[in-house]
C-alpha cells in the first residue's frame, strides 16, 4: 500500500463558477424556447449534452444504452417543454427526465424492478469497514489514472458492482457537482436519503477499489 500523502490539501467545497450568470442565461433560453424558438432549445441541449450523457452513462454503465437514453430524454424534454414551469433549474429538470428514462431503460433491459430498497442496498457493504469511510488512499494521481488501463478497468468493475441508485448519487455529486437539494429534486427523495446513499456508495466504492488493489478494507480481518 502506498503511504498516504500528509501534504495533500483538504478538499475544498465545490464552487460553480459564474453560476448565477449561467442560470440567468438558461432562464432566458428557456423563455425563448417556450415561445417557439427551437434554436434556443438546441442551444440548451448542446450546452448540457455531455452532462446528460454523463448522468445516463453513470447510471447505466453502458455507452450505447446511454446514447439511446439521451436521445429519448432530449425528445421528451422537447415535447414537455411547455409544461416546464421554470421553478427548477433547467439542468435539474433535464437530469430528472434523464434519470427517469434511464430507469425505464433498465426495467426494459433487465425486466426487473429498479425501485431502490435502501435498507437492502445499503447492506451491500456488510463486511466492509464497520467504522465508516476509509482513511486509506489508493495512491493514484487522477490525471495519470487516465492512462492507467488497469485502474480504469478496476474502476469500471467497481462501478458495475454498485446498484443503479448508488451510481446515480455518485455521478450527480462527484462528477456533476450537484448540491444535496438538487440531487433530491432530481432523484425524487429526501436530502437525508441522498446523504445516506452517498455515504454508502462512497464506502462501497472504497471497499471495492481497495479489494481490487489487493488491499483489505479497514476494520476487516485479513
Amino acid at each position: 500500500m502506498q503511504t498516504p500523502s500528509t501534504t495533500s490539501t483538504v478538499a475544498a467545497p465545490p464552487v460553480a463558477p459564474d453560476a448565477a450568470m449561467d442560470r440567468a442565461d438558461d432562464a432566458a433560453l428557456v423563455t425563448r424556447a417556450r415561445s417557439g424558438d427551437q434554436a434556443a432549445f438546441g442551444k440548451l441541449l448542446r450546452k448540457y449534452e455531455r452532462r446528460v450523457f454523463s448522468v445516463a452513462n453513470g447510471i447505466l454503465r453502458n455507452v450505447d444504452d446511454a446514447r439511446d437514453v439521451c436521445q429519448e430524454a432530449f425528445w421528451k424534454a422537447h415535447n414537455a417543454l411547455a409544461s416546464f414551469d421554470g421553478q427548477a433549474q433547467f439542468f435539474t429538470w433535464m437530469y430528472r427526465i434523464t434519470v427517469n428514462v434511464a430507469i425505464d431503460h433498465l426495467r426494459k433491459r433487465r425486466g426487473e424492478r429498479v425501485e431502490f430498497d435502501d435498507a437492502r442496498a445499503n447492506g451491500e457493504d456488510e463486511g466492509a469497514d464497520p467504522n465508516g469511510l476509509s482513511p486509506r488512499r489508493l495512491g493514484f494521481d487522477p490525471v495519470r489514472a487516465l492512462e492507467d488501463r488497469e485502474l480504469r478497468e478496476q474502476l469500471e468493475r467497481a462501478l458495475k458492482e454498485l446498484s443503479p441508485a448508488h451510481r446515480a448519487v455518485l455521478v450527480l455529486r462527484e462528477v456533476e457537482g450537484l448540491a444535496y437539494q438538487e440531487m433530491a429534486d432530481v432523484v425524487g427523495c429526501s436530502i437525508g436519503t441522498i446523504m445516506s446513499r452517498l455515504f454508502h456508495a462512497r464506502k462501497r466504492m472504497q471497499s471495492l477499489l481497495l479489494a481490487e488493489r489487493g488491499e483489505v478494507p479497514v476494520g476487516v480481518d485479513a
Partner: protein
C-alpha cells in the same frame, strides 16, 4: 454513519467534503480536523478525482449534433393537457356526471320496480382505475347487467420513470 471515537463523524466530514456546511460550521470542522480525519478527506478527494477523470474520458467523444439538429428543425411542441391533478379532477367530475346520468336513465327506462341489489366495486391500480357495476335483472333472475368503467393515466413528457 458516525464514529464512536473522538474523530469527526463521517456525516460531518461528508457534508464538509461536499460543501454543504455553513461558513461557521466549516471553520469549526477545520479547527477539529485531526490526522485521521484528514486522511479520510483525502481518500474522499481521491475517489472524486478518479470518478471525474473516468467520466471525462467516457464523455470526451459525445456528440448529439444530428439529434439536436433534428429537434431544432421539428415544430415546437404544443402545450400539453392540464397537469395530472387538475386533469384528474376534471375527469372525476365528468365521470361522476356520466355515471349519475346513466344510473338515472337506466332506472327510468325500466318498467318494473328498481332493484336495490346493485353491487359496485372500484379498483385503483398503478396508472389507472376501474369501476364495476353489477345489477340483477328483475325480469330475468338468471341474468345480470354489468357495466365496467376503466380509466388510464399517463405521466406526460417524462416517461414512467419512478423513484430510485
Amino acid at each position: 454513519m458516525t464514529r464512536t471515537s473522538s474523530h469527526l463523524s463521517d456525516d460531518l466530514l461528508q457534508r464538509y467534503h461536499d460543501g454543504e456546511l455553513s461558513a461557521v460550521d466549516r471553520v469549526d470542522v477545520e479547527s477539529r480536523l485531526d490526522g485521521e480525519s484528514r486522511l479520510r478527506l483525502e481518500a474522499l478527494d481521491e475517489l472524486r478525482g478518479l470518478l471525474r477523470t473516468h467520466s471525462a474520458a467516457e464523455c470526451s467523444g459525445v456528440d448529439f449534433a444530428s439529434i439536436i439538429d433534428a429537434i431544432e428543425k421539428s415544430p415546437p411542441a404544443v402545450a400539453k393537457a392540464p397537469p395530472r391533478k387538475r386533469r384528474g379532477l376534471v375527469s372525476l367530475s365528468a365521470f361522476s356526471a356520466f355515471a349519475a346520468g346513466a344510473f338515472a336513465l337506466f332506472f327510468f327506462l325500466r318498467s318494473g320496480p328498481p332493484s336495490n341489489e346493485a353491487a359496485v366495486e372500484s379498483l385503483e391500480v398503478s396508472g389507472g382505475s376501474a369501476t364495476v357495476l353489477r345489477m340483477p335483472d328483475d325480469r330475468n333472475p338468471n341474468q345480470t347487467t354489468t357495466i365496467i368503467w376503466a380509466s388510464l393515466e399517463e405521466e406526460p413528457g417524462q416517461g414512467t420513470g419512478g423513484t430510485l
